[in-house]
Amino acid sequence: MPTTALAAYSEVTASEASLRRFLHGLPGVDQVGAEARAAGLGTRSIKTTAKAWALDLAIRMVDLTTLEGQDTPGKVRALASKALRPDPADPSCPSVAAVCVYGDLVGEVKAIVGSEVNVAAVATAFPSGRASMPVKLADTRDAVANGADEIDMVIDRGAFLAGHYLQVFEEIVATREACVRPDGSHAHLKVIFETGELQTYDNVRRASWLAMLAGADFIKTSTGKVQPAATLPVTLVMLEAVRDFREATGVQIGVKPAGGIRTAKDAIKYLVMVNEVAGDDWLDPDWFRFGASTLLNDLLMQRTKMTTGRYSGPDYFTLD
C-alpha cells in the first residue's frame, strides 16, 4: 500500500517526538464551527429518487452488528441470514456490507454468508483495549484464522490520552501485521478510536492521521459501548481527515461511524456529509460503513414506504 507520497511520512513516525510534533501541528478543529457545519449538512432535504438511491446505498453500507455477552451461535446465524436477505419479501433489496461479531463467532457467520457478505470481527481486547500486546495480537490472529474478512481493532485510549502516540502507532502496525493471512492477503483493518473517550475534535483528527499513517484501511468512531458514540461532527472531522490524507498521499481510507445511528433519516444525513465533504468516491461500501443494528430495519421500513407509498410497521420486518 505505501506509495512514495506516503513514504515521505516515514520521518514523521520515526520517533515519539516527531510524531507528536506532526500530530500537534495539524490544523485545530473549532468545536462550534465543526458542529455548525455538521448541523448545516443535516438540513439537506433528500427526497424521492435521491432518497430511494440513498436508502439502498445505506443498506449496502451497513455492518450489521451484535457485540453482546449473550451472543450465541443461534443469534449470530439469524443475524447472518438477515444480512444476506434483509427484506425477505423483496428480492431487489440489497445485502448489507458485513456482519460484525466477536472473533469466536466468525465461523458461525461465515457458514451462512459465505463470500456474499463480509464478516468483521472485533479484536484487540474489544471494547476497552486493556490487555497486553501479545493478548491483543493473539485475539486478532484468532479472528483472522476463523475467517474474518475484516478486523475492527480498538486503540489504547489510555496511551493516546497520555501522549504515547508512538505506542499507539506501533500497536496498529503490529495488529495490521497480525491481519496477514498465510496466503499474503490481509483482513481489512478498521481502527476504532472510541471518540467519546478522546473527547476533543483535535484528538479525533490526530487519531485519524495516526491510524492512517499506521496502515489502517478504515477509521471507525466507536465501539458502541461508550456514549457518545458516532456523531455527525465526529464523522465530519474523520471525513476531512481521509480527504486530506488522500490529497497528501494518494491513499484512500474508509470511514465507519458506529453506534447511535438508528434511523434512515440519520443515515441519509451521513451520506450527504460523505458526499459533500469527502466526495462521491467515498459513497461506496468499500469506503463508508455504518456500524449499526437497529438502523437496518428503519432503512427497510423507509424503503418499503418509498416503493409502496404507505407507511409500514415493525411487525413487517424481521427482528433478529
Binding site: V32, R37, A50, V117, N118, N275, D286
Partner: protein
Amino acid sequence: MASTSSTTGGFEYAPAPESRSIVDIKPSYGLFVDGDFVDGQGSSFKTINPATEETLAEVAEASEADVDLAVRAARRAFRGWSRMSGRERAKYLFRIARIIQERGRELAVLESIDNGKPIKESRDVDVPIVAAHFFYYAGWADKLEYAGLGANPRPLGVAGQVIPWNFPLLMLAWKVAPALACGNTVVLKPAETTPLTALLFAEICQQADLPPGVVNIVTGAGATGQAIVAHPDVDKVAFTGSTEVGKAIARTVAGSDKRVTLELGGKAANIVFDDAPIDQAVEGIVSGIFFNQGHVCCAGSRLLVQESVADEVLARLKRRMGTLRVGDPLDKNTDIGAINSSEQLARIRELSDVGEAEGAERWAPACDLPSSGFWFPPTVFTGVTQAHRIAREEVFGPVLSVLTFRTPAEAVEKANNTPYGLSAGVWTEKGSRILHMASQLRAGVVWANTFNKFDPASPFGGFKESGYGREGGRQGLAAYLQGGDL
C-alpha cells in the same frame, strides 16, 4: 476484500421545493396607516420575484402627502403608546413575537419569493432572529429604568425608519422592536424591491390588536424615504442602506433636533492566519461572503490570508465552493439564491468585469444558472491588491477578493485601510492574538473564529463610514430614548 458490488451513481439531490401555497399574495397592496390599509395618493410600482421575474403584486408608492398622513397617525398614536405602562407595551411585543413564530413558515416563504434568498436562510436565520428580536425587546419595555440610560427614560416620539432589501423582515425587526419597546411610534418604509413581508407584518400588527398608528408602513422608493427623513415631525431617523444615502440623510437632518442612527456599507476583512482551524475558517469564508448571495453589509468580502497558507486555503475554498448549490430559492437544498434585482446584478457584473480588467484572476465553479431571473455564481478573485476597485468598493454580491499578508501588523494595516468599519473576521487558534487583533481592528463587530453571527442581545453597527449608532442589545435602546447615553 470479498466486497459488495460498487456501483456508485453519484448522489444527485432531487428537487425539494418548499410549497408556496402557504402564502397568499394579493394582486395589489395599499399603505398601512393608522391601523388600516389605505390607498396611496401617489402612483404604484410592481414587485417581482427575482428568481423568475414574475410580477408578484402592485404596491402603492407613498407620496409626500401619504407620508405626512402616516407621520400624523404615528404622532396621534404616540400619546397613548408612550403613556401606556411598559408592562402593557411588552405584552403587545410578546404577542407579535409569538405570531411571527406561528406564521414563521409563511413569512419565510414570502421572504424568499420576494427577495430571492434561499428558503433555508429565511427559514433558519431571518425569521427565527426576527422573532427573537421582538422577544428580546419585549422584555425591555417594562425595564427601561434598569438599562443604565438614565433614571427616567423617555421615548423620542415618532421614528422614521428606512430599511434595505437584503434582510427585509429582519431589518424591520431591528428597527421596530426597540422603537416600540421604548414607547416610540414608527413610520417605516421597506425597500421598493422587497415590500411584501413588511406588509404581512402590518397584518400581524392588526392580528395582535396593536393600537392603530403605532406602526405605519409606507411603501415606495427613494423619494418616499426622503419624505420620511425630511418630515419635520419625525423625531428620530433610523436607516440601513448604502453609505451614499446615509450621507445624504446626515445632510438632510443637519441642524435639526432629529436623532439619527445609520447602518451603512462595509468592506470587511476576513483575516486567516496560518494557525487557523482551517476547515472552519473555510466555512467562515464561505458563509462570510456567500451567505444571502453576499447581499450583506457586513460580508467578509476581503479575504486576507497569510501567505504561508494562501495556496492551501484557496484550494480548500475552491473545492468547497464547488459544493454550493445555486438555484431556486424555494428549494430547501439551495445555498445561493437569486440576486435581488437586475440593477444589483448589473452592479455586480460591472465591478467583477472591472476586477478582471484590472488584472485580478477570476474563478467560479461550474454551475448551471436558471435561464430567467437574476443570477450570479459564487466568484472569487485572486491576485487582488489594495489598489483594485473590487478590494475597496462594496460589491454587495457573491464576490470575494483575496489578498495576502505576511505579519499580523500587515494584516491590521490592510484590514483597516478602508473608509468603512462595520465588521471584521479573525481566524487563529492563538488566544492572545485574537484579543490583539480584536482590539486593533477598527470595526464595530469582530467575529473571531466565526463569521456572520447575529443575535438580538448583540449590538451591531459600524465605525467610520459604515455609520453610527448601534442596533441590538442594551445599546440598541439608547437610540430610541431621550438622553440615551450608551
